[in-house]
C-alpha cells in the first residue's frame, strides 16, 4: 500500500503523519509512507485543503484531521 500525506507543514499535517505511522505500526500493515510538501505535487491531487491523506493515489481525507479510528478503517485495519 502506498500512503501519502499531503501538507505544507502545518501542525495538523505533522500530526496526521505521526498518526498514520503509529497506526501502520500497530496494525502491522506493510505500507510505503511518504510526506508530500511540494505544493505543485499537492495540487495534482486537486486538493485545496491540507492535511490530506492519499492512499494508492486516491484522496481519502482532505482538510481535516481524521480520528485514529477513521485512519484505522481507511488503512483497512480491523
Amino acid at each position: 500500500m502506498k500512503i501519502e500525506i499531503l501538507g505544507t507543514g502545518c501542525a495538523k499535517c505533522h500530526k496526521l503523519e505521526e498518526m498514520v505511522r503509529e497506526t501502520v505500526k500497530a496494525e502491522g500493515i506493510s505500507a510505503d509512507i511518504s510526506k508530500v510538501d511540494d505544493i505543485k505535487k499537492i495540487m495534482r491531487y486537486g486538493v485545496m485543503t491540507t492535511p490530506a491523506l492519499v492512499i494508492d493515489g486516491k484522496v481519502k481525507v482532505a482538510g481535516k484531521l481524521p480520528s485514529s479510528e477513521e485512519i484505522k478503517q481507511l488503512l483497512g485495519g480491523k
Partner: protein
Amino acid sequence: MAECCTIPDNDKPDKRKYIPFLLIPLAIVIYVFLDPGVDYLVYNILGLDKTTPLTKAIRFFLYDTPKVMILLTVIVFVVGIIRSYFSPEKTREALEGKPLFIGNIMAATLGIVTPFCSCSAIPLFIGFVESGIPLGVTFSFLVAAPMINEVALVLLFGLFGWQMALLYAATGLLIAIVSGWVIGKLKVERFVEEWVYEIKTGDFQMAEVKVTFHDRIQAGYTAVVDIVSKVWIYIVAGIAVGAAVHGYVPENFMASFMGKDAWWSVPLAVLIGVPLYSNAAGIIPILQALLGKGAALGTALAFMMSTIGLSLPEMIILKKVIKLPLIIIFVSVVATGIMIVGFLFNWIY
C-alpha cells in the same frame, strides 16, 4: 494564521458528542438570569458601591465574560455543523464559470460559510485560479472569508446587539463583493506568479464518504474545542481591558480623537488596523468600551474591519503566489472600501 493550526483532539469517546445538546438549556438559563444574577452578586453579596469606577469595571467584566463565552460556545457549535455541509472544493465547483459580478456575490457569500483557514490560502488560491475562476472572484472570497467569521459576529451580537452584527456582516459582504469586482476590472492576471498557471491540478477524486448527522455533530463539537480553546484567553483579556476602560476612562474622552468630528480618525484607524493583527476576540470588547466613551461608530467599524479582515500574516502567505504590486492593489482596494464604510457611518450617525 493562529486560528488554524492547532490540533483538535478527535479521539474523544462517543458519548461526549451529546454533551453540547445537554448544555444548551443550561446555557439559556444562565443567559437569562445573568443580568440580575451579576447585579445581586456585585451589589448584595460583595456589597460594592454602585458609583465607583472599580465597581463599574467589575460588573462589566463579570457580566460580559460569561455572556460572550456562552454565546460563543453555542454559535461556534451550530456554525461547525453548518460548515460541515460546505467545503472549498464544493465552493470552487459552484463558482466555476460564473460571470464576474454574480461570481463576486457568490464568492463573498460562500466565503462566510466555507471552512477556510489562512494556512490553506495558497492551495485554495491555486485551486480557484486553475479551474478558471476569475481573480476578482477569488479575491472576493479571500476578503469575506477572514473578515466575516463567527467569532466576530458573536462578539458583535453579544456586546453591541444584533443590529451591529448585521451591519458588520452586510458592510463586510459589500466590501468583499465590490473590492473583488474592482480587482477583477483592473486586469491583474500578470501579477500572479507564473508557476501558478503551470500547475496541473488533478480532478478531485475523494472517495465518496457518507457523512451522517452524527458526524456533523462531531464537527460542531470539534469546532467548539478548536475555536473556544484558542480564543477564550483573548476574550477574557479583551473584556478585562474593556472593563477598565468602562470604569476608569472619562465620558467623551474618546470624542476628540476617535469621534465623528475628527475626520482623519477613519484613515488613521485603517492605517493602524491593517498591519495590526489581532483576532476579533481581543479587539471587539475594547472597541465596545471605547464606543461608550464617545468614539464614533464608523471609526470603530473601520478599525475592526481592517484589523480582522486584512492582516500581515495573510499577505505574507499570499506573497508566495502573487507579486507585490497585486498585494498592494489588494490591500489598497479593500482599505479604501473600509474607509468609505467608516466615513459613511460617521456621517449617518
